[in-house]
């Protein structure tokens, strides 16, 4: 993945990660968790906060250590750093939010395999300063969160008739079972990528 054209200013990084190269709908990375944890808004929010924390801290750490890391073991060290922060998140959830930990199940551990984090560490933190790298990690996480929360909003509303666990649709509402199941996230994600791309094409080619 070439990232040479990436802007090096804080606002440029923000715009890039939230929109122009949004990790989910432009780069289509990290969609495993996007399918798995998006049927309830609360779980999605906690998962996203976990990803934002891990990505920001990983980028910061990788950037600080970048001159000391031998090239041969670069990827292994990055993975070690990611795993370290993910386990920290896991320990904190298990100790202080056991119910959420239960609900997220194995997906917290699977943050390690989220390609966005490795992608940002390799593409950005390896070649930029610590502060900007931290910001890049956080904003990439926000880009991830934005798409996931949109998917979760639609899935929880139609699948359970509720938002953040509060019933908002009337009793008569018949929940759409498909929305609760993982395949619905596939359809929704596909639609989001379609809309995102269409809007971006319009921006690039003004009539």
């Amino acid at each position: 993945m070439s990232d040479t054209a990436a802007p090096k200013t804080a606002s440029g990084v923000l715009a890039n990660n939230l929109w122009h190269s949004n990790p989910i709908f432009m780069q289509v990375l990290g969609i495993c968790s996007a399918l798995a944890v998006t049927n309830l808004l609360v779980n999605t929010a906690i998962m996203s906060v976990g990803v934002i924390f891990v990505m920001g801290m990983t980028n910061l750490t990788v950037s600080l250590l970048k001159h000391a890391i031998p090239r041969k073991v670069r990827m292994i060290v990055q993975t070690l750093i990611i795993a370290f922060y993910v386990i920290i998140v896991d320990i904190v959830l298990r100790a202080y939010l056991p119910d959420i930990h239960e609900a997220l199940g194995p997906y917290v551990g699977l943050i390690i395999t989220n390609c966005i984090i490795m992608g940002r560490a390799e593409a950005f933190a390896q070649s930029n300063g610590p502060v900007l790298s931290f910001w890049d990690g956080v904003t990439s996480g926000l880009g991830y969160m934005g798409v996931l929360m949109t998917v979760a909003l639609i899935r929880e509303l139609f699948g359970f008739g509720s938002l953040f666990g509060f019933t908002v649709l009337p009793e008569l509402w018949e929940p759409w079972i498909i929305m609760v199941m993982p395949p619905s996230a596939f359809f929704l994600l596909g639609i989001i990528i379609w809309i995102g791309k269409a809007l971006m094409n319009r921006e690039e080619a003004p009539a």
Binding site: L65, A68, I91, R94
Partner: protein, 197 residues
């Protein structure tokens, strides 16, 4: 110093791994007691819910559960208490659900045919479908319902003794619950009849 040399690589990797793993070990140790406490509370809460004892705070759970009598019958832990004018026995159960193991607590009244209640501890059923076994609506059906001969039947609309309402769209889970709870009622009755308690 040559940062690409084998020695540097090994030393660097060792130090980095050692540092990170040490912090993790420390964090794990520091929270171990709290995690254990959470698990204890979760388990005791499940027993209180199954028996039907209301609670409000975590401290209350520990206090109320402390008043429940613990018995060991043939290597199985059974809990006994008096509640609502009945002697109630409770024990953990587990069985194969649709996707994975369903674990929970079954509470039985002294006639050994009437359930005082059930609680699900964990399961891997489909969220929103089979996962609805954790909803109050499903669990409340077991509050003081008699199952003659220890047989649980799931029907469309439960009206008679021995019947519970099936979950729409979750036939696999419903069948599994029928099977698990019927077997568990038999096992529990035999266990209590065969002992002196």
């Amino acid at each position: 110093m040559n940062k690409q040399s084998a020695i540097y690589t090994i030393v660097f990797t060792f130090i980095v791994s050692f540092a990170f793993v040490s912090i993790l070990a420390f964090a794990n140790q520091a929270t171990a007691e709290r995690v254990e406490q959470n698990q204890r509370i979760a388990r005791q809460r499940a027993f209180l819910n199954a028996i039907g004892i209301p609670w409000e705070t975590e401290d209350e759970i520990l206090d109320l559960f402390g008043q429940v009598e613990e018995l060991e019958i043939e290597d199985t832990l059974v809990y006994r208490t008096e509640h609502d004018g009945h002697t109630i026995y409770a024990k953990e159960f587990s069985g194969q659900g649709l996707w994975g193991t369903i674990r929970g607590v079954l509470a039985l009244r002294e006639d050994l045919e009437t359930t005082a209640g059930i609680e699900i501890i964990d399961h891997e059923e489909t969220p929103g479908l089979g996962g609805r076994i954790t909803e109050q609506e499903f669990k409340e059906q077991f509050r003081g319902r008699r199952f003659p001969g220890g047989e649980v039947r799931a029907v469309q609309e439960a009206a008679e003794e021995g019947e519970i309402a099936a979950i729409t769209g979750a036939t696999g889970t419903t069948n599994a619950m029928e099977r698990i709870l019927s077997a568990e009622l038999d096992r529990f009755r035999e266990l209590l009849e065969g002992s002196e308690v």
